[in-house]
């Protein structure tokens, strides 16, 4: 696999040090920029994703929308979500189309929550990748993810999500969705460059009738390696429920840090306690007692 070239930054549930990838290259952080203001919802990215990753096409049914299906699936990682609504200022309609997929958080909740050693890795370039051969199917990642992204394959009981085409990126190519995008609403490059482009575009939008335009790169998860330009960055929820301030759920953080340490300490002290008790007091010997 070409993603063997990528240097590893973090591994889920991994005791000890993280072995870095073999690549001599120093990797920079990559980023996919999705400019929703120029997306036309053509779904080329959906098909490209399916074809590159070798998943089969499936039967769908009409559901009063242009959206292919209600939700992403374990083998359908990339879905354009359509939402039509009257503008808040009453000046007409907006038909919002948002490409939904893994956001590749800098601080990935899935990885934090994952109990399986090596099932989730984060590369130095920011890609968060699932290794199904190590996945145990517990779906803690689903709980850890503030974007509701990971999906279980019910037959293999392993979880899947967008890999940001780590296999292509490792070989120096852009992700398949970006390659297929006809309008150029998708861009791929270094996080720095994409951030610059996105800021530039939102400034332009701000000057042209979209005062609330902005970049979606939520700090709550340490920033993401998939960022959006939104016409209305103040209300990301209207883009089919993009969370406003996504963070790793507080309970997951509590569970993974203080609670876990409390538990560990408790267990160690428990064992140590009973053993010292044995040494100090010893067993209850009925015969001895009777003699006494």
């Amino acid at each position: 696999m070409a993603n063997d070239n990528l240097q590893i930054k973090a591994i889920s549930a991994h005791p000890g040090a993280v072995a870095s990838g073999a690549s001599p290259e120093s990797s920079y952080e990559v980023c996919k920029l999705i400019d929703t203001t120029t997306c036309i919802g053509c779904k080329a990215c959906e098909v490209a994703c399916l074809e590159w990753n070798g998943y089969e096409f499936r039967e769908t049914t009409f559901d009063n929308t242009y959206q292919t299906m209600p939700d992403t699936e374990w083998n359908y990682w990339n879905l354009i979500r359509f939402s039509e609504r009257e503008k808040d200022d009453g000046t007409g309609l907006e038909w919002l189309m948002r490409k939904d997929q893994c956001m590749h958080c800098a601080d990935p909740g899935c990885l934090a929550a994952c109990p399986a050693d090596g099932a989730i890795v984060q590369y130095e370039n920011g890609i968060v990748d699932f290794n199904q051969e190590h996945c145990i199917g517990c779906q803690y990642c689903v709980t850890g993810c503030p974007f509701n992204i990971p999906r279980l394959n019910p037959s293999t009981k392993t979880v899947f999500k967008c890999s940001l085409c780590s296999d292509r990126v490792g070989a120096g190519l852009e992700p398949a969705c970006v390659k297929s995008c006809p309008t150029g609403c998708l861009h791929f490059g270094s996080k720095e460059d994409m951030k610059f482009e996105a800021e530039k575009r939102s400034k332009q939008l701000q000057a042209n009738g979209f005062p609330d335009a902005g970049v979606y790169d939520p700090a709550g998860v340490g920033g993401t390696h998939v960022i959006y330009v939104l016409h209305d960055a103040k209300n990301p929820e209207k883009y089919s429920g993009l969370p406003k301030n996504p963070t790793i759920p507080i309970m997951v953080t509590l569970w993974k840090h203080p609670l876990k340490w409390l538990g560990n300490i408790g267990m160690i002290f428990g064992i140590a306690g009973v053993l010292t008790h044995y040494l100090r007091v010893g067993p209850k010997d009925v015969k001895q007692e009777a003699k006494r």
């Binding site: 005791p15 399986a116 199917g137 689903v142 009981k157 309970m251 209850k284």
Partner: protein, 220 residues
């Protein structure tokens, strides 16, 4: 009296003068609980901490451990229910329990003579029982929610609570379990045979469970 321990009834006295502490059914039930709990403990701990991931070997490796854990968990809970049908009455609190609890320090210090006489189960055993009983119930409820997260995907907040709750419930049972194990194997000598072959010595019964012993004698 046959040597077949399956025929022993609780509270009877064997030919050799041993007192039957646990019937076959009780022992079977206990060990069903014990084995299923131990399995869930090991596999659960594997998913609890990366440093205990090796414990998943108990379940045949991480993948099968994760697959078996909920099933065995359900068996564990069923075993708890079974036990409950047998011991529910005997595990309810009696006035002597409070006296015992007041003297817990003496119990811990092996100053047993200071302790009030106890029935078949002392207050500590009862406490352990109820910790495991409610622990199992919590583990079941949280465990089932964790088993099928895709079914309640929209209740994401619930899942974030459920997983730590499962861990907390498990930690409580682990604490209790450590003590149970210690006492059963190391601390209360002479008692282990009660849960294995079923019988204990008269002395042991008299010493640890005077009320129970007296009742047996009266019955005799």
């Amino acid at each position: 009296m046959s040597t077949n321990t399956t025929a022993l009834t609780e509270g009877s006295v064997t030919a050799s003068g041993e007192i039957v502490r646990y019937s076959y059914k009780e022992r079977l039930c206990h060990w069903t609980n014990g084995v299923t709990y131990f399995f869930c403990l090991c596999t659960g701990l594997a998913f609890y901490s990366p440093y205990l991931y090796w414990l998943s070997a108990v379940g045949g490796g991480p993948v099968s451990a994760r697959m078996l854990h909920p099933w065995i968990g359900v068996f564990f809970y069923l075993a708890v229910v079974w036990m409950h049908t047998m011991w529910k009455q005997q595990m309810t609190s009696i006035p002597e329990d409070q006296q015992w609890k007041d003297k817990i320090k003496d119990y811990v210090e092996n100053n047993d003579s200071a302790l009030p006489p106890q029935g078949r189960f002392n207050a500590g055993q009862k406490l352990f029982y109820w910790v495991m009983y409610y622990g199992a119930l919590s583990l079941l409820i949280t465990g089932i929610l964790m088993w099928f997260p895709e079914k309640w995907r929209s209740l994401h907040w619930l899942m974030t609570i459920v997983i730590p709750l499962h861990a907390v419930a498990a930690l409580f049972t682990i604490g209790a379990f450590i003590i149970h194990l210690y006492m059963g194997i190391l601390m209360v000598t002479g008692g282990l045979s009660g849960i294995t072959t079923g019988t204990v010595s008269k002395e042991w019964a008299q010493h640890h469970h005077r009320l129970w012993y007296d009742k047996i004698k009266q019955g005799k």
